[in-house]
């Protein structure tokens, strides 16, 4: 099993979610996050007050997938989240040792 964490532009979220669901991803965790990579923020002034915009809004998707879905999911995220501009985000993959469904204690890929 692999954990996919994807940090994407909020404006791409609906398209990414829909495409992932269509390719068979059944569950995901979504968080509203702020952060920055190389795309640094800026300061906005409005009516004499300064507003720091150094952490930009992003959406973080997290899903644990069986190996056979991982490549497809990554390709789907790349295809649907990309605008070609700085700030499109990142995808991180990592190994997951075990999954356990709390309700019936089923383990492994069946618990996903």
């Amino acid at each position: 099993m692999t954990r996919i964490e994807a940090i994407i532009q909020p404006s791409r979220f609906e398209s990414v979610k829909k495409a992932l669901q269509e390719m068979g991803v059944q569950g995901m965790t979504v968080c509203e996050v702020r952060g920055h990579g190389r795309q640094k923020g800026h300061t906005e002034t409005y009516r004499g007050r300064e507003y720091e915009v150094d952490l930009l809004p992003k959406i973080k998707l997290e899903m644990i997938l069986p190996y056979n879905l991982v490549d497809g999911a990554v390709q789907t995220i790349l295809r649907t989240a990309k605008t070609g501009k700085i700030g499109d985000g990142k995808i991180f993959l990592s190994q997951v040792d075990e999954a356990i469904r709390i309700r019936d204690e089923e383990r492994g890929e069946g618990a996903l």
Partner: protein, 861 residues
């Protein structure tokens, strides 16, 4: 029913229980099912008593079995607890210990959830601060078996005396328990998965109302019929609500096989399909079934809170008297008790205007209606509706009052809102059945209005930008009215709900008599109320193209403020967690970017007949009489900032065009009108030095306080200036012809016939400078990048009388020309932007420094 063994008792109980369940399944009559189950348990307990008590006649003396709580009320749900009191007198107490066990064991063997309780009469005769539930459960006490005289002592002597003696204590315990329960349940009837017993509006609230009625009126305690204690006019409504809730709770117990009262999402669908609580068990959609639930819950919630409030003693006699005296001073028609309003003379309600005034008063004073007044209003609404004079004036006042949402809820609850606006009926208790929308559509709309009013008291840092923006609104009533109607379309069979809401307000407008631009603003807000959310979620708000397109769609800064606040209130009213700080920050970011774009693109974005979308010209042309050619209109518009076109209605632009055609006859054309609480001076003239300073100086000399101003010029050098001001000394209000003299003065000052200094000297004595309440440090910023040919100067400073004159005079004295000006006031802060040129070019560093020096010197003068 002879009981030969526990086995036959179990068979009897199972058989009878199955019959009750089977009848419930066939009829969905919850009221009957719970009464029959209570009777079944009665039979068993009486039989057990016969076996264990009557066998030794002497043992019956001074002991009786009493049903308490729901069982006492003959309302025993399929899996509810059976509360059983073994009541004895002090002397016999020890003698009967074994009886409790002997009777309880077979009941436990039947798997009844029996809670036996041994108490003496003396125990029942005191207030239990540590166990208020016991006192309250005694209110439902019912004789089952044993010493009938002992029970009569309890019911007819001990309890009435206790109620009489400890009335306030009982009520206060009840209020505290009720408050804690409501708090645990989020103080709202609106839950996606309500608890039929404990949620506000659930069965526990019904019981609370019942107990309050019995405590406050001893005769209700002594009569056993529950429904007879309700006011006759409400009896049917309350009875229907109880029947629905009882049926739904029975359904849940049978379906779950335990005392589980949570109406889960899945079970809502099952109950709706089975037609639980619905006439003829009709299968209906889950959303419609939940609509019924919320309507009934609203009835029960209103009843319990009202009875409880009315029963509470005033916190202080003196304070109660003072509040009543204060109310009488302001409104002789009403009396107030415990925050609830009653009418001195109900006949005043026959006047529709007085009826609406009543709710305006509630909105302004944070009061609720007494039950009696609700009934009186109910009677009035039976008569044919009569038109309400000055409907918008009155309703406007209600909407801007701090407790408007509560007043609207009260209006809706008694039927007045739908009586005035029948269009609102479409969303009465309408459920949007998903995991996102927590409230019914009507409740969502009231909550959205409440969210805006709450900004006044908000201390949360992240809300401050929204709170400031709210305080700057010119006509907040337009925002509130739009929020009230924005989702009415959800109750219509249209795919696009804003379109339905627009249809509804179009019906309403003729009754309100709004001005054209007011109606346009409401139309704009309703039609575009999802626009800002859509941009937040589906567009890159840091992309200048997104900001530009959004700014074009919104048009003017005032509409941007309204839409931003609308979006804030709307999202926040979906569920308590819907507006995350993340979303709020993004919303504010989009607002700031758009507002800055509007302000800083002014000089660049101009009308050019060759390249501009001419659609809006088509809307102005029919308004021009006598007709003119498109080329003539385009010549007037050529070179004006796009902001001018977006910020003015076609009617206003047509008026400006007509005024421009008369400049040959009189080189200064002006008019003054009233819009809301502001006077608006529109002036057209050929551009000249000191023009802006001359107008602002004359207004200052007359004691007018300028709130906002705009100055735009077209390619032909015709300046269109608009000044929004208040008349603090009521000069124009008390003497309307003075408006003509003010305009004459302006013309004389601009033509040089009258010296502004003379005019200002003549007035200065009467308009002395007041010390500021909050100090605002002056900030001056020059920006050469926003425009290709002019320098943007932004100045933020302490607002004061004559400020704009002094600023614009300093600009003119430095030899600078005002290309565009945008003047605004935010409380005590003046926020002004001037696009300046000198000799047709940007200001060099030297001129910028000289101007900064001149402005700061003026401030210190």
């Amino acid at each position: 029913m002879p009981i030969s063994s526990i086995g036959s008792l179990r068979d009897y109980y199972a058989e009878e229980s199955a019959k009750i369940q089977s009848e419930f399944t066939a009829t969905s009559n919850g009221r009957k099912a719970i009464a029959e189950r209570a009777a079944l348990v009665d039979n068993i307990i009486v039989e057990l008593c016969r076996e264990h008590l009557v066998a030794d006649g002497s043992r019956v003396d001074k002991l009786c079995l009493v049903a308490l709580g729901g069982y006492g009320r003959r309302a025993l749900y399929p899996h509810s607890d059976v509360d059983l009191l073994f009541l004895s007198d002090q002397a016999a107490h020890a003698r009967y210990r074994g009886v409790t066990r002997a009777i309880s064991l077979p009941l436990w063997d039947l798997r009844l959830k029996l809670s036996p309780l041994n108490r003496t009469l003396a125990d029942c005769d005191k207030l239990h601060g540590d166990n208020p539930e016991f006192n309250i459960s005694l209110l439902d006490s019912r004789f089952l078996a044993g010493d009938a005289q002992l029970f009569a002592q309890l019911h007819d002597d001990v309890l009435p005396r206790l109620i009489h003696r400890e009335r306030h204590g009982l009520l206060s315990n009840l209020a505290e328990l009720n408050g804690k329960r409501h708090e645990r349940e989020g103080n709202t009837i609106f839950h996606l998965e309500p608890n039929l017993k404990n949620s506000p509006g659930g069965l526990r609230d019904y019981h609370v109302a019942y107990w309050v009625a019995r405590i406050t009126h001893l005769r209700h305690f002594l009569t056993a019929e529950p429904d007879s204690i309700w006011p006759p006019k409400l009896r049917e409504e309350i009875s229907q609500a109880f029947d629905f809730l009882a049926a739904a709770r029975c359904f849940l117990h049978y379906r779950q096989g335990r005392d589980d009262n949570v109406l889960t999402y899945e079970l809502q669908a099952e109950a709706a399909a089975a037609g639980i609580g619905v006439k003829h068990l009709q299968n209906i959609a889950p959303a419609d079934w939940m609509r019924l639930y919320f309507r009934h819950a609203r009835t029960i919630y209103g009843l319990s809170t009202q009875l409880l409030d009315e029963a509470q003693p005033p916190t202080s006699w003196l304070r109660g008297w003072y509040k009543d005296w204060r109310t009488r001073r302001s409104q002789s028609n009403y009396t107030i008790a415990n925050g609830r309003l009653s009418l001195r003379d109900p006949a005043v309600l026959r006047d529709g205007g007085q009826l609406l005034n009543l709710f305006v008063f509630l909105a302004g004073n944070g009061l609720q209606l007494s039950r009696e007044t609700e009934n009186q209003i109910g009677e009035i609404l039976q008569r044919p509706a009569v038109p309400i004079p000055n409907l918008w004036g009155r309703f406007r006042q209600l909407l801007v009052s701090p407790r408007a949402a509560d007043a609207l809820r009260a209006m809706h609850s008694v039927g007045v809102l739908v009586s005035i606006f029948p269009e609102f009926a479409a969303i009465d208790s309408l459920v949007i059945r998903d995991f996102y929308h927590q409230y019914t559509v009507d409740a969502h709309s009231f909550r959205a209005i409440e969210n805006i009013h709450r900004l006044r008291q908000s201390k949360a840092e992240w809300e401050q930008p929204f709170a400031r923006t709210f305080s700057e609104l010119e006509q907040p009533e337009l925002l509130f009215f739009s929020l009230l109607f924005h989702d009415v379309g959800k109750g219509m069979s249209l795919e696009d709900h804003p379109q339905g809401s627009l249809q509804a307000v179009e019906n309403v407008f003729p009754r309100l008599g709004l001005r054209q631009e007011e109606a346009d603003t409401i139309r704009f807000l309703i039609a575009n109320h999802l626009e800002m959310s859509a941009n937040l979620m589906r567009r890159d708000i840091f992309d200048p193209a997104t900001v530009r397109a959004f700014a074009e769609k919104v048009g003017s800064p005032e509409r941007l403020k309204l839409l931003c606040l609308f979006t804030y209130a709307d999202i926040r009213a979906v569920n308590p967690d819907a507006l995350t700080p993340w979303k709020a920050e993004s919303l504010w970011q989009l607002y700031v970017s758009t507002a800055n774009y509007m302000g800083r693109s002014l000089d660049e974005e101009r009308f050019h007949a060759q390249s501009t979308d001419m659609q809006f010209v088509d809307r102005i042309m029919p308004l021009l009489r006598p007709p003119v050619t498109e080329a003539q209109l385009s010549t007037f518009l050529e070179g004006l900032p796009r902001r001018y076109v977006l910020a003015h209605t076609p009617e206003e632009i047509a008026t400006h065009f007509r005024m421009s055609r008369q400049l040959n006859d009189n080189p200064v054309q002006s008019q003054i009108e009233i819009r809301g609480h502001l006077y608006v001076l529109t002036l057209l003239a050929i551009d000249r030095p000191f023009l802006f300073a001359g107008i602002s100086g004359t207004l200052a000399a007359w004691g007018m306080n300028i709130w906002k101003a705009e100055a735009f010029a077209n390619a032909a050098g015709i300046v269109v200036d608009t000044f929004y001001f208040t008349d603090g000394y009521k000069t124009l209000e008390l003497n309307p012809p003075e408006a003509d003299r003010l305009q004459k003065n302006i013309q004389e000052v601009l033509s040089g016939a009258l010296s502004l200094e003379t005019l200002m000297r003549g007035r200065s004595g009467s308009h002395s400078r007041r010390p500021p309440k909050v100090g605002v440090p002056t900030e001056i910023r020059f920006d050469d990048s926003s425009s290709s040919h002019s320098t943007l100067m932004e100045i933020i400073t302490q607002d004061r009388a004559g400020l704009l004159y002094h600023l614009s005079a300093a600009v003119a004295n430095t030899g600078c020309n005002i290309e565009v000006a945008l003047i605004d006031t935010e409380g005590q802060r003046a926020v002004d932007a001037f696009y300046l040129t000198i000799g047709g070019a940007k200001l060099g560093p030297g001129v910028q420094e000289a101007l900064r020096h001149a402005l700061l010197s003026e401030e210190q003068a």
